[in-house]
Amino acid sequence: MINLNAKIPEGPLEEKWTRYKSGSKLVNPANKNKIDIILIGTGLSGAGAASSLGELGYNVKVFCYQDSPRRAHSVAAQGGINAAKNYKNDGDNTYRLFYDMIKGGDFRAREANVYRIAEVSNQVIDHYTALGVPFAREYGGTLDTRSFGGVQVSRTFYSKGQTGQQCLLGAYSSLNRQIRAGKVTMFPRRDILDIVVIDGKARGIIARNLITGEIERHSAHAVVLATGGYGTVYYFSTLAVNSNASAAWKAYKKGAAFANPSFVQIHPTCVPQLNEFQSKLTLMSESLRNDGRIWVPKNKDDKRPANDIPEEDRDYYLERRYPTFGNLVPRDVASRAAKERCDAGYGVGKTGLAVNLDFRDAIKKQGKDAIENKYGNLFEMYKDITGIDSYEEPMQIYPAGHYTMGGLWVDYELMTTVPGLYAIGEANFSDHGANRLGASSLMQAAGDGYFILPVTINNYLSGEIRIPRIPTTGAEFEEAEKSVRERIKKFLSIKGKQAASSFHKRLGKIMWDYCGMKRNEEGLKKALVLVAELKKEFWSDLLVPGEGADLNQELEKAGRVADFLELAWLMITDALNRKESCGAHFREESQTEDGEARRIDSEYSYVAAWEYNGENEPILNKEPLKFEFVELKERSYK
Amino acid sequence: MNKILFSAISKKFVMALAGLFLLLFLPVHLGINLMLLKDDPEPFNNAAHFMATFHLVKAVEILLLLTILVHVVYGIILQVQNWFLRPVRYAVRNKSETSAFSRFMIWTGGAVLIFLVIHFFNFYFMKLGLVDGDPENFYSIAYQLFSIPGYVILYWVCFILLGFHLYHSLQSAFQTLGLANDFWTPVIKGISLIYAVAVPLGFAIIPLFIWLLK
């Protein structure tokens, strides 16, 4: 068992962070120069943390698998970034943002962490604006905000449909400034194949240079994982196709607890699968649901083109089931409802795995220009991919894996259960509970990177100042490199018949069917068996062409899929353990009479932090969630 | 500092300025040439004489020669440098859409340069006394040249190519000098077109008129 001490500061909610900052230890500027930090991932959290740590004076080594840090998948976030600025005078404040997140997360997040991220949200906007992020503005020159993700205040800052790219470029520019200053060294095109732990502390990594195939050792006083989520476990997801869980998984295997791995957000509005070689499901911004109406035919066998189906034969199922929120119900509710309709045989499109998102009425009411103004770029993108003109006929959409609320367990300082190993952004579990509110992923990633980690990490590093630069020749590095090399050799020597991606696709199907939007005991147990079988098959029938000492994209894939196969097993185990429904985790056994999610606070008000236990069942550690400042309520969107 | 002064953009800046200066000179030259259309050789010869002897013009002349030199030398240097930037060429011709004639500036420019050299041998060097002939009677020399069909065809071809060169050059110079935006660029492109048609046409009609009228 691990001791899960969240180290939450005493005191009232709104004073915790201030108290923490007043009490935590600092590192003398002259000593920072002697300390090395390894940072993995260059998205909003990683690039933000790297630049901030560089600004503080630490020596930072940054790794990413892309050819440039500017390509990390934060780049694809569309909708926006939240902050409690209350620029619209609509009654927003830090508490309200905190409360919306806690409630949106279905009371499965840690109060203190969530309040803190709401607290730093304003600073994030200030910083990005100063960095030159071109957020949308009003005519008076002030920043514009919009209402997003079903909340009642307008707190989402945005840059048209590409807030993620603009924020990422801001973060990338501050990273570049530190590279020029010599405080940050960038190592692009590297896969992280192991975390090195010496005397119980994270001290380095084993990386593979993706161009030369060289296995490299890098040491540091602390290691920070900013590696994002693991949604690609479903194969089809809104993530970049190379997004992976390998570094986080290696951390888990080296002793970092993995929290709530089964909490995965499925995004309701994505482009459905169109062909057998499709590699991803592109997200269409949720904002489309503000004006688009979702429907399927009332009659299963109605194969008429959408426009030929008259009003009385259409089932606007969200409006029917949720008269108050209608098409704007939270993501998990909308996703499940779509799956339910399609599973019942009402789906549209070639595969029957899609529902209509119709703008006919909005265009009639507001005019085509108004709709084009709001969603022009999205309609264009949809047309590029599918060839369908959504001004003329409805879009077809379907849910896809999107964001993982689960991740490495971290305490209030964002440190995992391995001392000196940190996890920030989507890679950790801390702020979104069982479901994430729209536009809060960018906020959390940036907040963690710029304003939280650079404060909390000092508290640990202040104890490391006497440790000289860590040599990479120790037994632990030898051992780690050896096992990495052996694994690569193994991949290359199986010489079976199937490419890594075919296993990945099959794994994704299992996870989607049994550990996706709806889960039940029987299905999950079946999935455990299926995943175990697939894993066995993988290790006996994998085919990786080429060699290790070379750029070998198939070898990269093999490593990622091997880790996904193990992670999937943990996700299913976690989903099996949590017999309640909460947020995005829907257990069919735990639902109300109307088919809504039913939380069981008496039994499951805890964070499930899984501990690696070799080939045996992982050990479940529970961090009880105490709600001292909010009252637990049931979500209702009726 | 050297790197900044001799950056690629600085070179382009000099080329653009030089080019614009040459663009100013062309209509002056055309104005004098149009006097060839008169039956009386006096005005043309007088103008040529004035251009050859007036001190201020002489100063401008030196500037003009230097400008041509800079424009040509820089143009060639930059072009040669650029040619080496794609050591492995595309197997399929690059079909990226480009503005008209812009890809052929070195060739149209080269043609104009060749014409310029011939032109220098026919007139300018005579004035300097480098070749035989009477610099006081350019009028009759011009008529003599225009009576040779081969020369006139070469003359026309060169002026058509000059037109191509000019069409891109005017707008491009403004762009290089940073004088372009959504409002003015279309206007400048319009002026480029008018200039690029009018000036070469002005030169080209002279032999035609001489043939038809005399």
Binding site: T129, G132, Q165, N176, R180, P188, A240 | R89, Q175, G178
Partner: protein, 244 residues
């Protein structure tokens, strides 16, 4: 759909490459160009051959990883699309498709269709930032920006750094890329204080990386998947001259 593919194969930066020919059957018009290559790779792997290496990641046209020279066009013949969003609908059954890597001296080939674009990073490291330390920023609304300027800055900021402009340019010039970066900062008041240092540093680095000069042919603008405008280059020039 059936396709006849002619693809550049090159083992690594040191070896000489050559074209290889592949016949590919079973291509669906719903596929993206990269998915078409995925299907070819699957076939190659199953035949025990080395698959074609190409850069790709987000597959939704925003990360800028992918890019190849397709039948004479960077990112293929359809304007405004990255290779990953280029649908096979735009190709005919039986069509011959020639696929080459970006060709430019500053973008050396790493393997097959993958080129090294780190020169772009280096230009931005030289000065593509606003020097503000985390924590030093003032309240966001204390900086007022005219909406028109802000929108213009956004239009420049949408550059995804794919390198199509360099690939399209007859001079392998990076002016469109650099100008987009310069413009974003130049148009915003936040970027003004160090505008001069920025443009000088980035131009010197651009030259050092060996990119060509701008001949104003407009090929970059025509091929830019994000439709970055040529007027950015004029602005870059302006910024540069006023930096002395």
């Amino acid at each position: 759909m059936k396709l006849r593919l002619k693809i550049w194969r090159q083992k690594n930066a040191k070896t000489k490459g050559a074209f290889a020919f592949y016949d590919l059957d079973g291509v669906s018009p719903d596929m993206s160009f990269l998915e078409m290559l995925d299907s070819l790779n699957k076939k190659l792997i199953e035949e025990g051959k080395d698959p074609i290496a190409f850069d790709h990641d987000c597959r939704e046209g925003i990360c800028g990883s992918c890019g190849m020279f397709i039948n004479g066009y960077p990112h293929g013949p359809v304007p405004g699309l990255t290779t990953c969003l280029l649908s096979m609908r735009y190709f005919k059954d039986g069509e011959k498709i020639v696929i080459e890597p970006w060709r430019a001296k500053p973008f050396p080939v790493i393997k097959d269709l993958i080129v090294d674009r780190s020169a772009f990073d280096k230009i931005q490291i030289a000065g593509g930032f606003i020097s503000v330390t985390a924590g030093a920023a003032s309240e966001a609304n204390s900086i007022l920006v005219r909406k028109k300027k802000s929108d213009e800055a956004f239009d420049s900021a949408i550059c995804i750094g794919c390198g199509a402009c360099v690939a399209a340019c007859k001079n392998a010039s990076a002016m469109l890329f650099v100008s987009a970066k310069i413009s974003q900062f130049a148009l915003l008041p936040q970027g003004r204080p160090e505008a001069k240092e920025r443009v000088r540093a980035m131009i010197v680095e651009m030259d050092k990386q060996g990119f060509g000069t701008c001949s104003n042919t407009g090929a970059c603008e025509a091929q830019c998947p994000k439709k970055i405008k040529l007027t950015n280059i004029a602005r870059l020039n302006r910024e540069y001259y006023s930096a002395f």
